[in-house]
Symmetry: C2
Subunit: 243 residues, 2 copies
């Protein structure tokens, strides 16, 4: 639990909004929050964090198909508390995704920055992703394979982990594209596409019972991601040449 660095901003807009249903604040829009409310801000933040952690633990215990009751039990409380801090299951799911992304993305960044050759960067990133997934497959399933069936037809708050990673990858690719004078508009398709490539291959790998070593899978995916399918039709040109 991280309790320090309480940034005392009287305007904590997004996070601790408890649904605001039946309760409409008075008309003086400037100051609607007094001490009786704001003194709970820190508690709310830690509680949210704790609930996200409980969700992760509950996934580890019960699998990717955990119910809200089990999550609440894991947190040592009841569903009501969960729903006081998260409007619905989707919001909690998004929070878990953010948390996992906050762990995964730095690892990816480190992996990339620890290499010099661009191809090695790709390989390192792929292997990092696979390592994460192999370390905790159940959490991975929860965080990647949970499609929110709702279609709110308007906003697109990036939700799943794949989206977050894809967005980040797209940014990196966009930077590289720009730096080398290419069309920047390819960044998003490439970023999401590359992530999806690894994701689908990883899904297959898990589903098939890991029929090869992780290192092999990394090598194959790096080949594909780096050089594409063009290598398939050219005979006698061994793809794993540069070693």
């Amino acid at each position: 639990m991280k309790v320090g660095a309480e940034r005392d901003s009287a305007r904590t807009s997004a996070f601790p909004r408890p649904a605001a249903d039946e309760f409409s604040p008075p008309e003086n829009g400037a100051r609607t929050r007094d001490r009786r409310d704001s003194r709970w801000d820190e508690h709310r933040r830690t509680r949210r964090e704790q609930l996200v952690q409980a969700t992760v633990d509950a996934v580890a215990r019960h699998g990717a198909g955990v119910g809200m009751d089990e999550i609440a039990a894991e947190a040592g409380t009841s569903k009501t508390v969960v729903y006081r801090h998260f409007t619905d299951r989707t919001e909690l799911y998004v929070a878990v995704c953010s948390r996992v992304a906050a762990q995964l993305l730095p690892k990816l960044r480190d992996a990339i920055e620890s290499r010099d050759e661009p191809r090695e960067m790709v390989a390192a990133a792929i292997d990092t992703y696979l390592a994460f997934l192999e370390a905790d497959p159940e959490l991975y399933r929860f965080v990647v394979h949970q499609q929110t069936l709702d279609r709110p037809a308007g906003h697109d708050p990036i939700s799943s982990l794949s989206d977050l990673v894809g967005e980040q990858t797209a940014a990196i690719v966009g930077l590289a594209l720009e730096r080398s004078g290419h069309d920047r508009r390819a960044a998003a398709p490439w970023g999401h596409g590359a992530v999806g490539m690894v994701r689908s291959a990883a899904d297959w790998w898990l589903r098939a019972g890991r029929p090869m070593l992780r290192a092999e899978l990394t090598a194959h995916l790096t080949d594909l991601a780096w050089a594409g399918l063009s290598g398939v039709v050219t005979p006698e040109a061994r793809t794993e040449e540069d070693k």
Copy 2:
């Protein structure tokens, strides 16, 4: 009138016997099926087909989140009948996937075979996939984004559409790999990976409200699939990646 005396007498097992074919040899040792059973085989086949079609229609009408009641209503009957032919929702879903795959895969094959240049084959296949998805996004969502949360502790017969297409692609890739003397073990990762690449990029494309033309997306994805990321770091020059 002998009504209701044996209401529950023959509560036999699961209804839709695998029923490989309608002919059982007359002198087949153990007599299991007689005409009272086998005379329904054709009816069962058509009924199944009709229910799959009704599901497709129901998806078109109510969106990817259709319920079983709505599916049954679309078929002009009640849930009971649906469950007489499909043990559960998953089995119906798999049947729909098979049907869609049976439509999509030939199109992909045609698109590939109508080109000479391998790169053009890839482009044509990607564009065909995107065209399918653009033509009926709701059905696409149903067929691709329905994760079966069950974990039957062992093996799962390939279920989702992505898996089917990925499996097929892997076969093609494996053939090309073998023909050019490469390691065949890369086929499965590459096949599933390539399909996942297109799928994720397409998901992003739909989610973002189609921020570019389909042709553009096809072009970008073809670039990525064919030449990989290596082109990003090489400034401005379209390298054919040789060594």
